[in-house]
Every structure is written in structure tokens, then in C-alpha cells.
């Protein structure tokens, strides 16, 4: 807890109030994700394997809360940026691969970060691969876009705020009803109200993220930036790269990482997860995996990073924030990544990994 406050004081003093506030929002993300074991990956997997809809329902609640605040703000304040990704071939491929890889690595963008923060050995091994994959994916994204891309479609600007809320809330309600219709009979993995409070809290924090940063909650841009900074520090010149050589990216690469909105919330998330896990005595869990599973997790981490850049976000930047801010690419990402997860769960079972 002292570390969280010290981080807030240091970042606010060194960089400014906006980054200090984003650090606190990041801490909140980490505390909620860790305390409630709020997992996007697990939520999808338990539906696929046991028809337990609780995790997906909680995700829908979080998205709906964020949407109810974000959509009117985006309509009223055009300077605010939604998570508007292009509708590209790379989105279809990237989201599918991400959905499969996150089941093998047992963590998506937020999941890998929060579990690394609390000291889970597998996520600590996956994170560096994720970082390098994000750097590489961003570096090669312009080439992938030559395969074909349509411009981003934001429903708030196409339909209006009220219509976007009606259409998207109806779609989430319909999906929730379908999950109810086909639910299994086993007890849910999540018992008690913690997961629902976490969902509401994450939705509120995501809206606060938009208010403070001017852009929605994201994860993987920050990870890619960390990778690019490390590669640059090793002596590689990125100024001629089609992505990292862009003026805005060059400025970001030469500035402190604490000046980047996504990096600050990512760092806060890492520490918030540790704080919550320490309260609950769940920090530094022990795991025992055969070498083949370790290798599979690290390779999956590399794929997670790479594919999330092709897909214009992970489960947070594309699925959660994309849908919550009315971006059509969020829905496409959800469909493709869920299809990928159907494959990923099979691969996970082939590798002998437990649910």
C-alpha cells in the first residue's frame, strides 16, 4: 500500500497530475482483477468447457457500465478518443490467434499483467515474451495492413449516443440470455458478489480512464513501447521502421515511459495486483509444470503480444474498451477471438494443462 502511495507521489511530482491519476486508476484495475480473480480468459474457458456463464456475464456488466458513461461523453466531447480500430484482415487473423494463445498461456493482456504483478511464475515467464511480441507486432503492423483494411467505424458517430447504447446493450443482453439458455448445471467457479463488484468497479475505472487520459483503457501499446525501448537501448535504430519511426512514436520512444498513459496504468495494474494478493495471502503462488508446458506458455506469450498488435488491441483495448466506446472492431474482435479460444482450449487439453 505504501508502494502505491509512493508511486503516486513520485509520478505526480516527476511527470504531472494526469499521470499520477492514471497510476491510481491502474492500481484500481490491479486490485479489482486480483481480488476477484476477474479473468477474461477463464471466463471464456469455463463457458466453453462447463457452460458456466458467470465470467462472461461479469464481463458484459463491466462493459455495460463503462459504455453507459463513455458513450454520452464521446458524443458530447469529440476530442475524446474511442478505441477505434480499423476493420482489417489483420484484425481477423490477430484476434483469432490471440483468442487461441490466451487459453494456452492462461492469461490475456490484463490477466498476464495482474498475475505477473502478484508473482505467478508462469505469467512472469510469459510477460517478457508478450512485451517482445507486442514490439514486433507493432513494427510489422503496417505491412499486415497492406492485406486490406476498412476505416474504423464508431457507432457513436454513425448512429448517435442513445442509438448506440440501445443497440449495444440489446446485443449484450441477447448474448447474456443465450448464455443463460445454454448454461450448465455445475456450480459456478465464481461464488459470492466479489466478481460483480469487480465488474462494476472496472467499468467505472475504465470510464475514469477516458476522462483523465482522453483515451480508453488499453494494455498492449504500453507493452510494445517497453519492448521498443529495450531494443533501442540495445543499440538498434528504430527511426526507419514503418511504425516506430513515425514522429509521434519517436517522440514517445525518447520520452520517459512514465509519460505514456498506457504504460502508467499498466505499471499501476502490476502493483495493484500485488497489493490485493498480499492482503489475501495469495502472492507468489507456487506452480509445477513440465518443461513442455513452460515452453508452450512462453511461445503463446510471444503470439499474444504479436497478434494483439495486428488485432488493434487485446481483450481490454479491443473487446472491453472497443465495445464500451462504440467501436465496431470490438465486436469483430470478440467473435474472432472467441472462435480462437475454442481452438485454444483444445490445444490446452492436448498439452495436458488443467482447466
Amino acid at each position: 500500500m505504501l508502494g502505491g502511495l509512493a508511486g503516486f507521489a513520485a509520478i505526480t511530482w516527476l511527470v504531472g497530475w494526469r499521470q499520477g491519476l492514471l497510476w491510481l486508476i491502474g492500481l484500481g484495475y490491479g486490485v479489482l482483477l486480483s481480488a476477484a480473480a476477474f479473468g477474461f480468459t477463464t471466463g471464456w474457458r469455463v463457458w466453453i468447457t462447463r457452460r458456466d456463464p458467470t465470467g462472461l456475464w461479469a464481463q458484459f456488466v463491466g462493459i455495460a457500465v463503462a459504455m453507459l458513461i463513455s458513450v454520452p461523453l464521446l458524443a458530447a466531447q469529440p476530442a475524446l478518443q474511442g478505441a477505434d480500430g480499423p476493420l482489417s484482415i489483420s484484425l481477423l487473423i490477430g484476434a483469432f490467434v490471440f483468442g487461441a494463445a490466451m487459453q494456452v498461456a492462461d492469461g490475456c493482456g490484463s490477466g498476464t499483467l495482474y498475475k505477473a504483478g502478484l508473482g505467478h511464475p508462469v505469467s512472469l515467464a510469459v510477460l517478457p515474451a508478450f512485451v517482445f511480441g507486442s514490439f514486433l507486432g507493432a513494427a510489422q503492423l503496417p505491412a499486415w495492413l497492406t492485406l486490406g483494411a476498412l476505416p474504423p467505424v464508431n457507432l457513436v458517430h454513425r448512429l448517435g449516443a442513445a442509438e448506440t447504447l440501445i443497440v449495444q446493450l440489446a446485443a449484450l443482453a441477447l448474448l447474456a440470455a443465450l448464455l443463460w439458455r445454454f448454461r450448465g448445471t455445475q456450480r459456478s467457479r465464481w461464488r459470492g458478489p466479489a466478481v460483480w463488484w469487480a465488474a462494476i468497479g472496472l467499468g467505472l475505472l475504465a470510464a475514469a480512464n477516458l476522462v483523465v487520459a482522453g483515451q480508453p483503457w488499453g494494455i498492449v501499446y504500453g507493452l510494445g513501447l517497453w519492448g521498443a525501448k529495450i531494443v533501442q537501448a540495445l543499440g538498434f535504430d528504430l527511426s526507419h521502421n514503418a511504425f516506430w519511426g513515425l514522429p509521434a512514436q519517436q517522440a514517445q520512444l525518447h520520452a520517459t515511459v512514465l509519460a505514456d498513459n498506457t504504460s502508467v496504468t499498466d505499471l499501476g495494474l502490476l502493483l495493484g495486483a500485488l497489493i490485493a494478493a498480499s492482503w489475501r495471502g495469495k502472492a507468489s503462488p507456487a506452480v509445477s509444470l513440465p518443461a513442455r508446458q513452460w515452453l508452450a506458455c512462453v511461445v503463446a506469450g510471444l503470439l499474444l503480444g504479436y497478434s494483439s498488435r495486428l488485432a488493434f488491441g487485446c481483450n481490454v483495448g479491443a473487446y472491453f474498451s472497443g465495445i464500451a466506446t462504440g467501436s465496431l472492431h470490438g465486436w469483430v474482435w470478440f467473435a474472432c477471438a472467441f472462435a480462437g479460444s475454442l481452438v485454444g482450449v483444445r490445444v490446452r487439453h492436448r498439452l495436458g494443462m488443467a482447466d
Partner: protein, 62 residues
């Protein structure tokens, strides 16, 4: 037998802090007094270069 690994988390956080300090030292000095307003809401476009959903070439269709 599975054992908790508290040294692993200490090592991880030591590496994070070290990388942050090194990054701060090699980065362009940050002018603390030209910081943007605390809230982006109502204060014009955000100046940040990055969100994972942004295309390399700025999207212009909404």
C-alpha cells in the same frame, strides 16, 4: 512439493524499478511545468501517441 517463491517477486520488482530508473536517466528530460491539465475531458485532444487500437496512419473515418 510446491513452495512459494517470494524471492521471485522481489527480483521482478527490483528489475521493474531498475528499468524505470534507467529509462528516466536516458530519456529526454521531462519538463514538469508544461504538463497537460489533470483531466483530458474538456481540454482538447489528448497528446498521447499511443493506444493499442490506433492504426499507424491516423484513422480519419468515424
Amino acid at each position: 512439493m510446491k513452495r512459494k517463491l517470494p524471492w521471485l517477486i522481489a527480483l521482478f520488482w527490483a528489475a521493474v524499478v531498475l528499468l524505470l530508473v534507467l529509462d528516466w536517466r536516458v530519456s529526454t528530460p521531462h519538463d514538469r511545468f508544461t504538463e497537460p491539465p489533470p483531466l483530458a475531458l474538456g481540454n482538447g485532444p489528448a497528446a498521447d501517441a499511443g493506444h493499442c487500437s490506433l492504426a499507424p496512419v491516423a484513422p480519419n473515418s468515424r
